[in-house]
Symmetry: C2
Subunit: 130 residues, 2 copies
Amino acid sequence: MNDIKQFLRSNALRPTKQRIVIAGYLFDGTDKHVTAESLSTELAKRKHIISLATIYNTLHDFYENGLLKKLTLSADRVYFDTNTDDHHHFYSEKEQFLIDINKNIKVNGLPKTPKNKKINKVEVIVHLDK
Amino acid sequence: MNDIKQFLRSNALRPTKQRIVIAGYLFDGTDKHVTAESLSTELAKRKHIISLATIYNTLHDFYENGLLKKLTLSADRVYFDTNTDDHHHFYSEKEQFLIDINKNIKVNGLPKTPKNKKINKVEVIVHLDK
DNA sequence: ATATCAGTTTAGAATGATTCTAAAGTGTTG
DNA sequence: CAACACTTTAGAATCATTCTAAACTGATAT
């Protein structure tokens, strides 16, 4: 609890009740993939009612501070990933199935980067089913 | 023109005025990345006013028939790609910059596919800037 | 040719995730 | 504990996309 407060403070985030609850859930040691909606549902199960606006705000605050990764897998919702290490994903749109690939993947044969651009990250999505 | 009609018919799509115009634009020989909005704008420039609903319908019809690929790069719009070969992309969200990587890319070190799942495709997105 | 009908197009409404607004609430600092 | 900047929130607004259901049109049979 005080750990969480310190954790938030050390990321320039004021430790409000809501952020403490959300951080407590998200950063409990197990990697998680959440959407605003799924997070809201999970917190509600735990009797923590936090407005959706705050959930969106908080996810973005955490994201801006590098505490979460943002995943764009489907056009109709944004996933946030608590695993901020460089990694990739298996993804099944049909089944909402999403798991990390932590194993070291190498992408070979990339052409040279377009002029005046810099590579931010190389993302590999392994689409399943269909 | 008759080519386009045949092309549509051979894909089980009735060659309507609108589909002929859209196919004529999309499949003119140069690879294109479009969104419903950008397609609508391009056609309007050419004095072809087609309702957005039809543009959405047509893009999906073409997609369902394998004439287009769907790209999920950003959460706020869907891109369709006239290049249906297996390929990858450079992408800059900030600049709406999107180009094909046709070169043969190899992804090594993938872990084994989750039980009872099948790989549909391996997608590599090289994110630029940030 | 023409009637017929399934497949299409369309305007406008509806949807749904996300963002915005602006008013009320709350950490933090002195 | 005063004062203020930062947060939270309900509800409205936004925006891409989908839906609805009425009008339209390509294909087929006569």
